[in-house]
Amino acid sequence: MHNKVELTPEAAVRAVMRDILGLSQEQVAEFTAETELFGALPELDSMAVAGLLTELEDRLDIMIEDDEVDGELFETFGNLVAFAEMKVRE
């Protein structure tokens, strides 16, 4: 068994977005804090969002409560990364 280095919250969010949307490494590397998510990306439906939240919990070892999830969270890539960073610090 060997452990790999821990992911930063931003790297984890980027990796999960890449997996959900089926993007290449280069495409997902172009995401900036201002990149719009919910509404702008049709693949990001409620089922994909459910998978995203659980996968982030798993990869970052955090717990996300119902009342922490609202539309604003998925407005931009920056919002989602900021949320993940906040949860990891908790």
Partner: protein, 233 residues
């Protein structure tokens, strides 16, 4: 040769099993992920079966009772039934090794004497959490405010509809409690992007997260190659 359907008997019924036989005595049971993840990874698993054939390895991909072509209602099925069904399938098809994907490991957790190849294992509560979140989002769209805690409570009292699946109380309770087992003979394989401990990492992407079912031929081939090398006598 192309994969073909065979069957296995469980609880007095026949369940289907996709089979890619090479005539070899190296026979691996592929245990699929559960629920929606199974649909998203079905194409990948069939690609793995083709690739295993090129390594002179026979593979079997069974339908779990209550899923795919099974005539039993999912609502009537428990995790114990899945465990008994897979044990029956393994015996009837003289399986020598088991490869499970995601939560599939939970359905073969009691086959301790077997050799287990385990891909990106996940506990039952994690799978249920995603499905409950989908239900919460759907409820919200119809103006209902449901919580994960409320849904868990409802599942204790009766059947629960989650993301298009009707789960009986027993299946929900058993899955919710099902942890990833530690098997005597095991090889844990994860994606390169996954930082959790593993015996080996494979390049590819998490197809179980993909919004639409997709394929990754290079990953399927790498998985088949890793399984075939692990099965070498």
């Amino acid at each position: 040769m192309a994969p073909a359907f065979v069957d296995y008997e469980f609880a007095g019924r026949k369940e289907l099993c996709l089979c890619h036989s090479t005539g070899s005595t190296r026979r691996v049971l592929l245990v699929p992920p559960l629920f929606d993840e199974m649909n998203r990874m079905r194409k990948m698993l069939v690609d793995v079966m083709h690739a295993l054939g090129s390594f002179e390895t026979s593979s079997f991909l069974p339908d779990l009772p209550g899923t795919n072509e099974s005539l039993v209602a999912l609502e009537q099925v428990s995790l114990s039934d899945w465990r008994d069904a897979l044990r029956a399938c393994a015996e009837q098809h003289e399986i020598s090794h088991i490869a499970s994907f995601r939560a599939g490991i939970l359905a073969v957790a009691e086959m301790e004497a077997a050799h287990h190849w385990i891909f990106s294992p996940v506990k039952g509560a994690t799978i249920l959490r995603t499905m409950m979140r989908t239900r919460v989002a759907a409820d919200r769209e119809s103006g209902l405010n449901t919580s994960l805690a409320e849904l868990t409570e409802q599942a204790g009292a009766g059947s629960l509809e989650l993301a298009g699946n009707i789960l009986g109380s027993e299946l929900f309770a058993q899955l919710n409690a099902a942890e990833i087992p530690d098997m005597t003979s095991q090889r844990i394989v994860r994606l390169e992007s996954d930082s959790k401990p593993a015996d080996s990492h494979i390049a590819g992407s998490a197809l179980w997260l993909r919004a639409e079912p997709d394929e990754d031929p290079a990953m399927s081939f790498a998985i088949a190659q890793d399984i075939a090398e692990w099965m070498e006598p």
